[in-house]
Symmetry: C2
Subunit: 395 residues, 2 copies
């Protein structure tokens, strides 16, 4: 196990009817609030009204930034930072999924920085101060509500990049499973694929003998695999939504990654799909993950892939390579059963036109060619994109 620091001080308020605690939380930081949200689903489901009533009664001065895109854009970050300066914002209240929270994190930093927002992202690490951030999560997916990372897109340069900062960590996050009842089947499945991907990225690392982290990851994967079908069938099943929501947070708060080394594999490859084609992040990950697993399956990796198959999907086969293939098939079939389109053409990527450029960027903007679980060259990435262009079978 590698050395690590685990210091995740976000105050999680989990459950129904917790928003009456919001005024007290915001008052810790001040009265001037920047309210950040996305396309307006919070206006349809009543959450916006609930929040505004709390803020009005609490005599907050509210500035709004709405319309944050699913792959949040650097232009939105710049606009938000400008609003923070103009209105002397004391605290940012992000209401939405990972995109809204990610966007808010970089706004929080950019508002207090002399750097141009895109330069801040290009640095990949921001050590400066940030405006305090409070979140109200409405989608179980990215885990951004309890970590220090953010992903921002620049459609002009066709780049989608992650940036981390110690002060990006939300101070308080409200997790109310009922806010996810109205999330569509497609977005629910995509969010869960994102959770599973985070767990898999950490699970297959270059560090051996990390049974604690791996056991936690297996437990979280099983919780998602059990509860996602329930939530798809019964969107207002509270416990299913609660399990998905809490799994999303724990999947990427450091718990399964701390003490392990190496670069992630599928996220850099997916970021290029999103950057070039603006597809749904979780869907891209679901499409790529089984193909990546097959691509890296060899004598050395078979035992860990077989452990995944046995512990997560209950595969009984004793020969590691066969068990591994059975596990990959089960993951693929699980995604299919949840209604996820499992080929690139199904999400509008119908030819190989950009595969080479995307593969080059995936390698250039990450370290997958150097220290991934199995290092991937530009050719490897192209092969995985090609494999993802048609339906697959692993047995």
């Amino acid at each position: 196990m590698n050395n690590f620091t685990f210091h995740v001080s976000t105050d999680i308020r989990f459950g129904k009817d917790r928003l009456n605690e919001l005024p007290e939380v915001l008052n810790t930081y001040g009265k001037h609030v920047l309210l950040v949200y996305g396309g307006g689903s919070i206006k349809k489901n009543g959450l916006y009204d609930t929040i505004m009533q709390q803020l009005t009664e609490n005599k907050n001065q509210v500035t709004e930034l709405s319309g944050v895109d699913p792959n949040p854009r650097i232009e939105t970050v710049a606009a938000g930072a400008q609003l923070c300066r103009e209105h002397q914002i004391d605290v940012i209240l992000a209401v939405g999924g990972g995109s809204v929270i990610d966007c808010s994190k970089v706004i929080a930093g950019a508002a207090r920085s002399d750097q141009e927002p895109w330069d801040l992202v290009l640095n990949r690490s921001y050590q400066g101060s940030a405006i305090p951030l409070v979140t109200i999560l409405t989608l179980a997916a990215t885990g951004s509500e309890m970590n220090r990372g953010a992903v921002i897109s620049n459609l002009e340069t066709k780049q989608k990049l992650g940036v981390h900062g110690p002060n990006f960590l939300p101070k308080v996050s409200f997790l109310d499973p009922t806010t996810t009842f109205s999330v569509s089947r497609y977005q629910t499945a995509a969010g869960s694929a994102d959770i599973i991907s985070h767990l898999i990225e950490n699970y297959f690392s270059t560090t051996a003998d990390t049974d604690v982290q791996d056991g936690v990851a297996e437990g979280l994967m099983k919780a998602v695999i059990k509860n996602l079908p329930i939530a798809l069938d019964t969107p207002d099943d509270y416990d299913a939504r609660a399990n998905l929501m809490w799994a999303s947070t724990l999947a990427l708060n450091g718990l399964t990654g701390s003490g392990k080394g190496g670069a992630w594999s599928c996220h850099p490859m997916e970021h290029e799909l999103s950057a070039f084609y603006d597809i749904t992040h979780g869907i891209g990950l679901a499409i790529l993950t089984p193909r990546w697993m097959l691509h890296v399956l060899n004598e050395d990796t078979a035992p860990k892939l077989a452990r995944f198959a046995r512990e997560v999907f209950g595969v009984q086969e004793s020969v590691p390579e066969i068990a591994a293939r059975m596990g990959i098939q089960k993951l693929y079939d699980f995604f299919i059963s949840c209604g996820i389109p499992m080929t690139l053409p199904e999400v509008g990527i119908e030819n190989e036109q950009h595969f080479e450029e995307m593969a080059q960027q995936a390698v250039a903007f990450s370290s997958i060619s150097k220290n991934a679980y199995v290092p991937l060259s530009v050719e490897d990435v192209i092969a995985i994109y090609q494999d993802a262009s048609t339906p697959s079978s692993y047995m």
Copy 2:
């Protein structure tokens, strides 16, 4: 899933050679340090010298409180609180296992409180301020290094009681697996039994549909069951010690208990064994847990006990009650294989003289008779103590 707040801000510094960070950490709080430790094992293994060198170079003014007992006594708490007042202590540095850390937590509160120390414990909850606490963990067991609880004994009144306080949470905890290399076989096994017991207490709760918490608990149990035999065979196996250490912390930092309801069962029963006979806490838990499982096995509880058997021990049996019994047997056999004495006479409790009084106290000082997984009467507790008096078989 129940509503919960999860806010565990302890800064964990995990790994080898992290103690060079100690001066910077202590300087956050001040120069006057109360150094609390136990029976002197840290003098034998060199840890004391390493710490004192750091503190001397950092120009700390150090007051020492040594000799904290395995079941820490209220008299030691009172003495520590007095030292803090006399020497205007800024920060307490607890070096040891759960006993030293628990004792330090209550010292930290008592030093800033007008209450008599034992009154503070009897209240079971302390909402006042406390001196900041930094810990250096040397035993994987109680999880005290990352939570707000403490257990203190009063041998005069034959009581061993838990007390919680928001300000008992350690600010920073150093977890260096190498500090546990010299822990004896017996204490290593006892510590791991304590970890498993914490996970089992949370696992069997009155709240259903908590797959995230239960999946995490299963993963941590499997990590302990895999790594304890390695650590017993090879005491300086770094990864085995690292997995046990990190499992101990995560087993009781709120991760597996938040969102679940009900009272613990085996801890209140064990606390009476320790209070009356001063036995090793983890050993008492190992002895009681399989007996308790059998005692509560019925048609309603069989499915969860069977899940435990299948997920933790890989039992394949499909009939729930049989699977449950197989799981209980496997847990019992595991403890035996680790050298744990599994009957009360083997730890010096040779007759039933105090069973009734102990059972009455277990019920009086906890809520096991009201809201445990299966509520337990005085008669139930006596029956479990009686069953623990001879070797058991569950199949």
